[in-house]
């Protein structure tokens, strides 16, 4: 009898299975603690009165009766939709030029287009103040309209979301079967008709996906409307005002829910359309190679040059503003703006940001990669694995501001044993990792999917524990995507505002938050200087990353280079 029992417990499991099970459960607990329960706290807060008593939907009723707050919802939708339309059109044309024409200087344009990724979203807003603000160079262009308001928000949003749209659309447009175009050509189809019957349908899921991603980014962004919104209120700034200004946490929670719902819907539509996209290209397709077409190439060159010029002028103006003595009266160069001299908002906050980014990159990469490995390669407990996968995708649907607020409610509660992490660097790191979890997770999953699914079986047959094979094969093979994930986390931790605006303390102010507060205090030049500091670090880290990647990869990826040598 006892023998039978023993066999039952051991059924189909070995030590690596047990470790895997333990780790899966740990991930579930971590996600519950740092994602699900905080969101639960947020929801329950929205159903309580100031004394913490349950009052049902009363707060929501109050919200609906407040026309000013309702106006913000309308404003948020308005700027988000306008920005989305503009970004999708511009980014589509730009990525079309990059993937489907023989326009010269593609490498240069690609590089310039990605510049906005290196800066916090507020940098664009600050630059716009210099260009079109009350003392702006091009103030007259706006014909008496103020840059502080929807115009400024839309312009700045278009600037900082452009590269995100470009990345999705470029991928989508480069997945195209050149045989389709050849078939169209043979059937004497005009170029224009081919564009509308092949190109657009082929890219439609990419376009839909882009639209929803950009919509969510603008809809939930806090930094830009804070700096350049003026009196034009949007949901994100309302939450901030309710929470920080009026200490009305319940209403902050209600507005967060209003912010969360469209973001969730957008997320699910995006996921759906991405799944559709994958099936379009088969293994038999032949990748499209553009042909020279002088007129089209030149038109695209003009268009891309114009956009590139705008991007350079934006970041250039921010840099210029940071180093002149007194805009616009004294344009002599100085470095005094970098000597912030404002308590709690100076270099300390910059160092904090670097520290945060460093920890986020290191711990985030390890946690995310191991997590995606468990999901992709374990052969036990499908239910647990699906749960972790679901949790891993969730953060993308949760706006940073909402997550930050949820963290306050959950971790600031006196009876929470994790209360000690409140107002520390730890909570900032955890929040940032969770906030940027999904994209990194998907990158890691894609990389793991490309590995032969029988590696684990082979290892088992050779009596090699899975962790050894993870160390010896999986990790070295996946180094390039692991580096990509770490750099993504680092740069985002440097530039994020919305996730951390509620969570920093006096000792843990961050550069991006400082820039907002400096701007709030009228220190626009110092705000620009602070924003530019973030850019410098991002650029420096990117460059180092490129160099290290090349060196390390030459060592660990020798087998890749050998492919090129022999074939």
């Amino acid at each position: 009898m006892s023998l039978f029992k023993f066999a039952d417990i051991r059924r189909g499991k070995d030590s690596s299975d047990r470790v895997g099970l333990f780790m899966l459960i740990s991930y579930i607990i971590l996600f519950l603690l740092f994602l699900v329960l905080p969101l639960g706290a947020l929801i329950s807060k929205s159903l309580q009165n100031k004394d913490g008593e349950f009052i049902g939907l009363t707060n929501y009723n109050l919200y609906l009766q407040e026309p000013a707050l309702f106006q913000s919802l309308y404003n948020s939708l308005f700027v988000a939709i306008c920005s989305t339309v503009i970004v999708v059109v511009l980014a589509f044309l730009f990525s079309y030029a990059l993937t489907r024409t023989c326009m010269p200087f593609k490498g240069f344009f690609k590089l310039v287009a990605l510049i906005p990724l290196l800066s916090p979203s507020i940098l664009a807003a600050i630059a716009l103040v210099y260009w079109f603000g009350n003392q702006g160079v091009l103030k007259e262009v706006l014909l008496g309209k103020s840059i502080y308001g929807p115009i400024g928000i839309i312009m700045a949003s278009v600037y900082w979301t452009f590269p995100h749209a470009l990345i999705i659309l470029t991928t989508s447009l480069s997945l195209s079967d050149s045989r389709l175009y050849e078939a169209a050509d043979v059937l004497k189809t005009s170029k224009l008709r081919a564009f509308f019957t092949i190109t657009i349908p082929g890219a439609r899921y990419g376009i839909i996906s882009t639209a929803f991603v950009i919509f969510t980014q603008v809809f939930t962004d806090f930094g830009v409307p804070k700096v350049i919104g003026g009196n034009y209120n949007v949901l994100a700034t309302d939450i901030y005002k309710e929470v920080v200004g009026m200490q009305n946490f319940q209403m902050g929670a209600v507005i967060s829910m209003v912010l969360l719902v469209p973001a969730m819907i957008a997320f699910f539509i995006d996921r759906y359309s991405r799944k559709k996209q994958i099936s379009l290209l088969t293994a038999r397709s032949v990748v499209f190679k553009p042909k020279k077409h002088f007129k089209v190439d030149m038109i695209m060159l003009g268009f891309c040059s114009a956009l590139a010029l705008i991007i350079i002028l934006m970041i250039g103006m921010a840099q210029f503003g940071a180093i002149v003595k007194y805009w616009p009266y004294n344009l002599n160069f100085t470095l005094k703006n970098y000597d912030f001299q404002v308590a709690g908002l100076g270099w300390d906050s910059f160092y904090n940001s670097v520290e945060l980014s460093f920890y986020t990159a290191i711990f985030g990469t390890i946690i995310i990669f191991v997590g995606s490995y468990l999901i992709e390669k374990l052969r036990i407990n499908e239910g647990y694995r699906n749960t972790v996968q679901f949790f891993a995708l969730m953060p993308m649907a949760v706006p940073g501001l909402v997550l930050g607020l949820a963290y306050i409610f959950f971790f600031n509660a006196k009876d929470n044993p994790l209360n000690f992490i409140y107002a520390t660097m730890i909570i900032l790191v955890v929040n940032t990792i969770v906030h940027f979890y999904t994209v990194s997770h998907l990158t890691a999953i894609t990389a793991l999917k490309q590995m032969d699914k029988e590696f684990e079986s082979v290892s088992l047959s050779l009596k090699i524990p899975i962790y050894k094979m993870f160390w010896r094969v999986t990790l070295p093979v996946c180094l390039p995507p692991i580096f990509d994930v770490s750099i993504y986390l680092f740069v985002n931790a440097m530039t994020t505002v919305s996730g951390v605006i509620f969570l920093y303390s006096y000792d843990t102010t961050l550069a991006s938050v400082s820039a907002i507060h400096l701007d709030e205090q009228g220190e626009v030049a110092k705000a620009a200087a602070m924003a530019m500091l973030i850019v410098y670090v991002s650029v420096a880290v990117r460059l180092t990353h490129t160099i290290i990647t090349k060196k390390v990869l030459r060592k660990t990826q020798a087998w890749r280079y050998n492919i090129l040598d022999t074939k």
Partner: protein
């Protein structure tokens, strides 16, 4: 069935994925040193059966006994086998040498011994000069030989081959077939190969288990399976076959349309609907025995297939389908196979078999 030399026994093994029964009540016995094949079309459950034997899948019911030890509930790492996959599954970042020594290092071998063993294996699969290359620098056939060496490195008692040749070119496949077979004989390792290629199974295996819809429908030596296929499915899956609708008439003869055929009717009774089956290579243009069957044919089409020619005959009052006859090219050169030429076709009583419809 229990035999002293039984190496592996599978007893009443079933495996379901949700509602889908991938394999049903499988019973097999494999002798020590035997080379067996699980043969069947895709989706017949042959790979699932192999993975259950390896422990990579857990069976729903039933047991696997290796060398008289019940290993049904053991994880793969506690079982004694080496495995080779269709995709090779070579570690791309490790050299050929490191791939082969991968399993040895863990077993705490000394460096010099590992080197010796790997060299031995490399020469066994004729890859000595490629030791320091990466898998991507090798051809598909070479990569599969590395995978084979890796699987054999720890001298497992059982070698599992999961469609090992399916990803390779026809020429390489034929070459490797022989190499694997020779190697297996030399080492005497009990081997199970999964394949959907009947020619592969026929040329390599000592014994074939033909599978369909999760069940073993026939087992036997390659020639038994070929000559005594127990169902039309196997008869047409292994080699090609002419099927002619027929009926057993009152005088217990097989009648195809208007023509009566002389053959053994086994257990069939009068008025049973059956199909007559004749292999294309068993039909001759000359009579060799008194009681050979004869049907008059007209050539409708000729296909040149290298060593033989496939000729399609119309046989009136016999069947509406064309009858296929494979003629060795040497014979074909002597007879002129022109379209519409009329020829008498002969086949012996023994070469004609009947199956139920």
């Amino acid at each position: 069935m229990q035999n002293n030399n039984t190496y592996l026994e599978v007893k009443d093994l079933s495996k379901s994925f949700g509602n889908f029964e991938a394999i049903k009540n499988i019973d097999i016995n494999i002798q020590e040193g035997e080379f067996v094949c699980f043969l069947g079309p895709s989706g017949c459950g042959k790979t699932t059966l192999l993975r259950c034997i390896a422990g990579l899948e857990t069976q729903s019911t039933g047991s696997v006994i290796q060398k008289n030890i019940n290993i049904s509930n053991e994880p793969p790492s506690n079982r004694d086998f080496g495995i080779v996959f269709q995709s090779y599954a070579l570690f791309p970042n490790l050299s050929v040498f490191s791939n082969i020594s991968y399993g040895l290092i863990n077993n705490k071998w000394k460096k010099a011994d590992i080197k010796k063993r790997v060299d031995e294996l490399l020469s066994l699969v004729n890859l000595t000069e490629h030791a320091l290359k990466y898998p991507s620098q090798l051809s598909g056939g070479e990569q599969q030989r590395v995978a084979l060496a890796r699987a054999l490195a720890t001298s497992p008692g059982l070698l599992l081959l999961d469609e090992p040749l399916s990803a390779l070119d026809a020429k390489v496949r034929v070459f490797l077939r022989k190499q694997i077979r020779d190697l297996q004989r030399k080492l005497g390792v009990t081997t199970i190969m999964v394949t959907h290629d009947q020619e592969e199974a026929q040329t390599m295996a000592d014994r074939i288990f033909v599978m369909k819809d999760g069940e073993i429908i026939q087992s036997g030596t390659p020639s038994e399976i070929y000559t005594k296929a127990n169902s039309p499915f196997i008869a047409s899956f292994i080699g090609s076959m002419n099927f002619i609708p027929a009926i057993i008439n009152s005088s217990n003869k097989v009648k195809c349309n208007q023509i009566e055929i002389n053959c053994d009717i086994g257990n069939f009774k009068a008025n049973d609907s059956v199909q007559l089956a004749i292999r294309p290579e068993d039909i001759q243009f000359k009579q060799s025995n008194q009681d050979d069957n004869m049907i008059p044919g007209t050539i409708k089409e000729v296909e040149f297939l290298g060593s033989f020619q496939r000729v399609y005959f119309e046989v009136r009052n016999f069947t509406d389908e064309l009858i296929i006859v494979d003629v060795p090219s040497s014979t074909a050169r002597k007879i002129e196979l022109d379209i519409n030429k009329e020829l008498n076709l002969y086949f012996s009583k023994e070469d004609a078999r009947i199956y139920s419809t």
